[in-house]
Subunit: 412 residues, 2 copies
């Protein structure tokens, strides 16, 4: 078999990730390799850490990526702080909450589960009541659940945890850089994100930040690497070398203690993605994501399709559409992809086959993408015989855009 | 502070990795993102797996990358097969052997250590004797130790392990794609490599392959992910979700069971790097690496500097040079980097400050790089007052090249 050079079709990606990378990030990816201890590379590491502090809105000492996809960062935090028998409260309101329980379980922790019906989130007071009952070491929760398109309010939970010396770990994979997230103000002890969503960078790194409360645990669990000392032992040692944050933080400190070989190209991309965010300004970026999410919802409602989930805690960057009765959700996605070159997502678990998930994240969160996806969905549904308000979706979104962006006087 | 677009100096990288990526790989990195379940992306996954089979020279069912740097792949294999109390023999002849013991230890295994003086490797019979004494479940060993530049012969060890139903796990991070490695012929049960060395791809993925003997263990340790079933339990479950090969192999199988979000861009790069290897031909590529390694050694000897380590088991892709007495190894590397733009490496542990490590791997394994590094080292040593045979190094390498590549008749 002969293998040819990559020759991929053009795609408009309107899923909850991976989404389109900013073209400036794509360009940065082609930058030639420099060595991991080259002073110029160390400089890129420092700049990336600075920029992460900006995006996480934190004064924490530590902010760096783990070299792996989003879940690698979540596992790094949980496995580094959870010891056998530790109690962890996990409020679950969608698929990725269950992933947290999976990781707690594998780290030897005891999960105290709360489950909300898919489409809802928790009243913070209910979470606090559960925390009071359990008195856990850690509360681990997802901020934005892409499986249901819902956003969990965190401020009150954070306040209670801090007052009671409980650690709050948040999976902000789907929100950071597109939805308001205030690490310090909300008293979040550790936050993990992904690159392939609102940061508009390809998948493959998991930026995270944590504070001194987390670091104190890491230092107690630290073990000198074999090779430096074969005798070193620590009964509380972290069960992974790759995810040992006590070692990774040394690599990212001025000591530069060797751990893994930092992923050169992905770091170029992450730095560029963060630089672009700084240039846009984090508040402007969040406003942009809010605006395009709103335009999408307005358009879909005008089309006459039904949105899923309670409106109040909807993620601005994920919009969930109920599949009209009698049609195949997969067939619609196939037409969208093959004819329009637009990718939207199906669903997991109880929602599988019942909804589509439309993302508007990162570089994909822009006017032309929103207008295209509305037009394509309308055409496709019409093709399958669904009765929609023809022409209304794009028109409603267009009117919204012209109103908020650039009020023009129409000539009659 | 203002952050500008990346603007990096041009570097010639002659370290044992990360080395220069093939320019075709750099171009592939800029390819726009497509979704992880896009049929075109699934096709790239399949092609990458096929190409990995070619490079690993194996008929194994499984060959795929773990999304992380090289050591993530090693940890994935060890943590997926080693259970608490399992005996593991680890013959250590340099720094990266100790890393294996570190990972065995964290997975709960019992390490039975063998140590060779740095610069030597093991007589396979001595390893076999140790294996007979211990009767371990696993033997874990490094193929090429970049810390010492030595290559461990594996064939006899593999034969003995297979006959006695012991698993052989090999770290071929520094050798695969540049040095002969025959997974099936040598009876290796699991092999892990890195992208940033002889594959000429940036750091960030850990391709691996394993056979049915390994897979049988994975299947016994498999646990259904929470979210699908909260009740599912397995007392032998793998302690990591991210490194759970029983799950990752399902993601890479036709079932495409969701695990992580595959790192799009790095997979583009890996596929292109492997495609380029197939085009060159694995045997030709190994010959090329051997040739340039030999040219480098010939040049260095002609210069009058001393090489480190026994000649017989020298890695063709790493050449270790003793630092002449009375000069600072670091100062030499600084001049090389800042004035010539050439990076060579220092050393670890007992060799720190005493040797330089010069790599000739992947795209960096080429004529002009070898001739440049010889010239630059000669100039730099001369600058520091070391007596070298001026002009002889490049001349000797040049003569070797002209002889083996393209015998020309000199006009007098």
């Amino acid at each position: 078999m002969e293998y040819k050079e990559l020759n991929l079709p053009s795609r408009t990606i309107m899923t909850p990730g991976p989404v389109e990378a900013d073209p400036r990030v794509l360009r940065a990816l082609s930058t030639p390799i420099i060595g991991q201890f080259d002073p110029q590379f160390l400089n890129i590491m420092d700049e990336t850490s600075d920029l992460l502090h900006y995006v996480f809105q934190t004064e924490n000492k530590r902010a760096f990526p783990v070299d792996g996809t989003s879940r690698s960062g979540i596992e790094a935090v949980l496995t580094s702080i959870i010891e056998p028998g530790d109690k962890v409260v996990v409020p679950v309101f969608g698929r990725f909450g269950y992933l947290l329980t999976e990781m707690v379980d594998r780290a030897g922790g005891e999960t105290y589960l709360m489950e909300a019906e898919w489409g809802n989130v928790f009243d913070p007071q209910d979470v606090i009541t559960k925390i009071k009952q359990v008195n856990p070491k850690v509360v681990a929760v997802v901020h934005g659940e892409t499986s249901t398109g819902r956003l969990q309010p965190l401020k009150e939970i954070g306040e209670f945890c801090r007052e009671n010396d409980i650690l709050l770990v948040v999976d902000a994979v789907a929100t950071l850089g597109g939805v308001e997230f205030k690490t310090d103000e909300w008293n979040v002890d550790a936050v993990i994100t992904g690159t392939q969503k609102c940061l508009a960078v390809p998948t493959g790194m998991a930026p995270l930040t944590y504070n001194d409360r987390i670091e104190r645990i890491l230092l107690k669990r630290k073990k000198i690497e074999r090779g430096l000392s074969m005798e070193a032992q620590n009964d509380r040692k972290i069960q992974s070398n790759y995810f040992d944050l006590s070692q990774i933080q040394d690599y990212w400190s001025p000591d530069r203690l060797n751990h893994h070989t930092e992923s050169t190209t992905m770091l170029y991309a992450l730095r560029e993605g963060l630089r672009v965010i700084k240039e846009e300004g984090i508040e402007n970026r969040i406003k942009r994501h809010t605006k395009h999410g709103k335009a999408l919802s307005i358009g879909l409602k005008a089309m006459g399709v039904e949105l899923f989930g309670e409106e109040q805690n909807k993620m601005p960057v994920v919009t969930i559409v109920k599949v009209p009765e009698g049609i195949s959700e997969q067939a619609v996605r196939q037409i969208m992809l093959n004819e329009f070159g637009i990718e939207i997502a199906g669903a997991f678990g109880p929602l599988k086959g019942k909804v589509w998930r439309i993302g508007s994240m990162g570089y994909s969160s822009r006017k032309n993408n929103i207008l295209h996806v509305l037009g394509a969905l309308e055409s496709t549904l019409t093709y399958f015989g669904v009765k929609v308000n023809k022409g209304d979706a794009a028109q409603a979104a267009l009117e919204y855009y012209l109103e908020v962006d650039n009020p023009v006087v129409r000539t009659s």
